[in-house]
Every structure is written in structure tokens, then in C-alpha cells.
């Protein structure tokens, strides 16, 4: 029992540290990717290749003057970024990071908890995530912040529906809601995106909208809303909002990989499993998962620096008039296919 608790605590701390580390270096990677796309050099002053840039940025955030508007609601003003950070970190607990590690006679799964409603838990966290932005935007007592908060909430609610419907089709084919089982099912066979190409596409688009990333970054649209919901924020509270966005990007790309791109499974894994030790395989799987996730993050950045921002009515039209009907069609087509193939 004690071993179990200690092991879980270590795993939680490691996942926490990895989330923060990846988020910190995502800010650096984003600037480097942007520079690469625009034929520039990017940050190169702090350390070799500018590798210490995230530290410099973090230090700058801490050192800046902290301003809380006098007309704002102080408690809610602080609660906003805290909630954003909290919900961003919460989804990491159900992601399977790799296979089992065996030590002595006990095997330790590299997943903090495999609850049997895993995907729904992700939805719960995602749907709760909007409060950080809404509360922060409202508490700032600034019309631009409020408009950004309103945009964020309507955008996230609209895209949650299409996201949920895309998942329904996946759950129909896998027959489980547990993320660990979904990943285990993809071991040594085709990954889920082969069976659910349309669902995968819809899910990825909705993930962009849920993380408020370009081309759906309307809540912080600089050209219209100054800074959107975080106009009034300064210092580390602004840092928390920006940081939460990068953590969200990391977690959502991990979830996309787990659901549709085989999770920690290596491609052609069943050909090599008999030749290597279980622990080595687990480590390989962890590295493979991480590579896939980093590719996902790169994809997020690639899109941001390629596609311009939508207009708000275009965003709503895409969500309600294209993605939701497509997702319903996907459910129908999946059902028909499963019936035709005798899987029901």
C-alpha cells in the first residue's frame, strides 16, 4: 500500500514537472518555429541557440510590476488565472504515458489512474476550463476583457458539442471509455485514425478551438480586443494564462495521440516485442509517445503561423453548420459500417 502511494505521488510529480517543462520549452519552440517559417533566426541571445530563453522569460514575468485594477473584484481577479492553470494541469492524470514498468514482482503502469470514464473526465475538465477565462475577463472590469471572455465561452461551448459527437463515433468502434484500454487496443494493429478519419479531423479542429489557438484565437484577438480576456493582467498572472495555453496544447496533443494515433504504441510493435525486455519496451514506448506528442505540438504551431485568424461569424458557422452535421454524419456512417461488417 505504502509503495503504491509513494509510486503514485512520484508519478504525479513527474507528470506535473513534464507538463511544466514542455510548456516552458513550447514557448521557445513557438518562437523558433515562427522564425523558421518567416525566414528569421528567432531568439538566440540567452545561452547556446537561445536555449535559456524560457528561463529569462519566466524571470521577467516574476519581476514585472503586479497591477490589480482598483475597480476590479480582487478575489475573482486572482482566481481567474489560478483556475486556468488548475484545469490545464488536471487532464494529465488519465493519459497513459507508456506500458508497465516491472520492478521485482510488482508492475507499475505509467498512467496515474485509468478510470473507466476516462474520456468523459477529459470533457469535464475541458468544459470547466472556460471558467478561468470567463472569471478573469469579468473581474477585470474592462469591456475588452469582457468581450474576450464572452467570445471564449461561446466558442468553447459550440466546439465542445462537435468534439463530443466526434468521440461518440470512436467509442462506438472501441467499445470503451477508458483511455488506457483504447490505447491498448491499438497495439500491433492499425491506429484509430484509419478507422475514424473524419472523426479524427473533427476532433483535431475542435482541439484547436478549445485551446484558443490560432486560427481560433478570437478571445485574445489583438486587432479587435487589445489583449482579449487578459488585457488587464500583468506579471505572473498574465504568465499563468499564457502558460496554461501551452499546457493545454501539450495535453490536448497527448489526448489526440492517445485516441487516434496509437498512444504509446510503436509502429509495427508486434514484430519486435518478443526480442526485447518489457522494461526496455516501456521506455521505448514512452519515448515514442513523446515524439508523437511533440509532433502534435509542432503541428499546432505550424497551423498558427500558416493560417490567418477566422472572423467571428465564420467561426460560429464552421462550428454549428459544418462540424456538427459532419460529426452526426460520422456517427451514422460508423454505425452503418459496423452493421455491414457484422461488428454489432
Amino acid at each position: 500500500m505504502l509503495v503504491f502511494v509513494i509510486y503514485k505521488i512520484i508519478l504525479v510529480l513527474v507528470v506535473f514537472a513534464i507538463s511544466l517543462g514542455v510548456a516552458a520549452y513550447s514557448t521557445y519552440a513557438e518562437r523558433k518555429v515562427a522564425a523558421f517559417m518567416q525566414d528569421r533566426v528567432g531568439p538566440d541571445r540567452a545561452g547556446p541557440f537561445g536555449l535559456l530563453q524560457p528561463l529569462a522569460d519566466g524571470l521577467k514575468m516574476f519581476m514585472k510590476e503586479e497591477i490589480i485594477p482598483t475597480v476590479s473584484n480582487k478575489f475573482l481577479f486572482i482566481l481567474g488565472p489560478s483556475l486556468a492553470m488548475l484545469t490545464a494541469l488536471m487532464a494529465g492524470v488519465i493519459i497513459p504515458w507508456g506500458g508497465n514498468i516491472t520492478m521485482g514482482n510488482t508492475s507499475f503502469p505509467l498512467q496515474i489512474t485509468d478510470i473507466n470514464i476516462g474520456i468523459l473526465y477529459v470533457f469535464g475538465v475541458v468544459s470547466f476550463g472556460v471558467y478561468g477565462i470567463m472569471i478573469g475577463g469579468w473581474a477585470s472590469n474592462n469591456k475588452y476583457s469582457l468581450l474576450g471572455a464572452l467570445r471564449a465561452s461561446s466558442q468553447m461551448i459550440s466546439y465542445e458539442i462537435a468534439m463530443g459527437l466526434a468521440i461518440v463515433a470512436l467509442v462506438m468502434t472501441t467499445g470503451t471509455l477508458s483511455l488506457g484500454e483504447i490505447v491498448a487496443q491499438q497495439s500491433g494493429t492499425w491506429f484509430n485514425f484509419v478507422y475514424q478519419p473524419l472523426g479524427c479531423l473533427i476532433f483535431i479542429i475542435c482541439a484547436f478551438a478549445e485551446t484558443n489557438r490560432a486560427p481560433f484565437d478570437l478571445p485574445e484577438c489583438e486587432t479587435e480586443l487589445v489583449g482579449g480576456y487578459h488585457t488587464e493582467y500583468s506579471s505572473m498572472k498574465l504568465g499563468f494564462y499564457l502558460f496554461a495555453e501551452y499546457i493545454n496544447m501539450f495535453i490536448s496533443s497527448a489526448i489526440i495521440v492517445s485516441l487516434y494515433f496509437g498512444g504509446y504504441n510503436l509502429p509495427f510493435q508486434n514484430l519486435i516485442t518478443q526480442y526485447i525486455d518489457g522494461n526496455v519496451l516501456s521506455i521505448l514506448q514512452f519515448l515514442c509517445f513523446f515524439t508523437k506528442v511533440l509532433m502534435g505540438i509542432f503541428f499546432f504551431m505550424w497551423v498558427r503561423w500558416t493560417i490567418p485568424r477566422f472572423r467571428y461569424d465564420q467561426l460560429m458557422n464552421l462550428g454549428w453548420k459544418i462540424l456538427i452535421p459532419l460529426a452526426i454524419f460520422n456517427i451514422l456512417a460508423t454505425g452503418v459500417m459496423m452493421y455491414a461488417l457484422g461488428k454489432v
Partner: protein, 167 residues
């Protein structure tokens, strides 16, 4: 006392306190936030009853969707203490009386109720996803489908009402 009992009392305390604060707080945005806390503690009760599907649905539907819309509307209307119109006393008294009657009828209804009469209540795993799905889609198929029609009707009605001109 086992740990789950402590949790039960704690969650009940939080639920009742935040529910009271919903109606006692003057600021409508604060009321909505207290209501979110209430829903969260009710979701915790579902978890104590081993009903993890209801727990997560309570969070997704109530705190995640409905309360976001509440908050959205209240922020949009920008309600403040200063511009809130002064209400007359008669509606307040009427509301208190009708709520009191409702509470009394609820108590009268539940007083003689026997939980064991429900066929499902004997099974403590009924809240788990598979069992709930089986019960809903096998035993209660027709009521389930009729309630979905009800939702469809409500949705069509809402769209109809929000349309400005009718062609």
C-alpha cells in the same frame, strides 16, 4: 466513522452553505459561482454513491454547460446592484409561500417512501456506466426515447422563438 461518512458530511455542508449563499449574495455573478460550487458538491455525492457516470455528467452538463450559459447571460446583461430594479414585497411573499408548500409536499411524498421498492436500488453498482446503459436501453427504452423527443421539441421551440421574422 468511516472516511466516506466524513466526506458525506463535508460535501453536504458545502452544498447547503453554497446553496444558501446563492440566494443571499447580492451580486448575481457571485450567485452563479456559488451555484457552481453547489453542483460540484452534489457531483461529489454521486461519487460517494459509486455512480461515477452520473458524477461526470453532472459536471459536464451542469457546471460545464448550463452554468457557463448562465454566467454568459449575466455578464452580457451586466447586472449590478445599483441598477437592479426594486422589487415589490408581494411577489417575494408569494414566492416564499409557494416554495414552502413545495417543500412540504416533497417531504410528505418522501416520508413513506421505501428505497428498497426500486428494483435498481438493490444493486450498488447501478451507477456504473455499463449497468446504467443496460437499464436505460433495455428496461426503460420507451421513456428514454420519449424524453429525447421532449428535448427536441424544446429545441425547436427555442429556435422558433428566437427567430425575428417568420417566413
Amino acid at each position: 466513522m468511516p472516511l466516506s461518512q466524513y466526506l458525506f458530511f463535508f460535501l453536504s455542508f458545502v452544498a447547503v452553505l453554497s446553496a444558501l449563499l446563492v440566494i443571499l449574495d447580492k451580486n448575481p455573478v457571485h450567485s452563479v459561482l456559488y451555484l457552481i460550487i453547489t453542483f460540484f458538491s452534489i457531483a461529489g455525492h454521486f461519487l460517494l454513491l459509486n455512480a461515477n457516470f452520473l458524477f461526470i455528467v453532472q459536471i459536464i452538463v451542469y457546471t460545464g454547460a448550463i452554468m457557463v450559459l448562465f454566467l454568459y447571460v449575466i455578464m452580457m446583461l451586466n447586472l449590478n446592484k445599483e441598477i437592479e430594479p426594486h422589487k415589490k414585497n408581494i411577489p417575494k411573499v408569494a414566492a416564499a409561500i409557494s416554495a414552502g408548500i413545495f417543500l412540504m409536499s416533497l417531504i410528505a411524498l418522501l416520508k413513506g417512501a421505501d428505497v428498497n421498492l426500486l428494483p435498481a436500488a438493490r444493486n450498488s453498482n447501478i451507477g456504473l456506466l455499463e449497468n446504467l446503459g443496460n437499464v436505460l436501453f433495455k428496461e426503460y427504452m420507451l421513456p428514454f426515447e420519449i424524453s429525447s423527443l421532449l428535448f427536441l421539441g424544446a429545441m425547436v421551440g427555442a429556435v422558433f422563438l428566437s427567430k425575428k421574422e417568420i417566413n
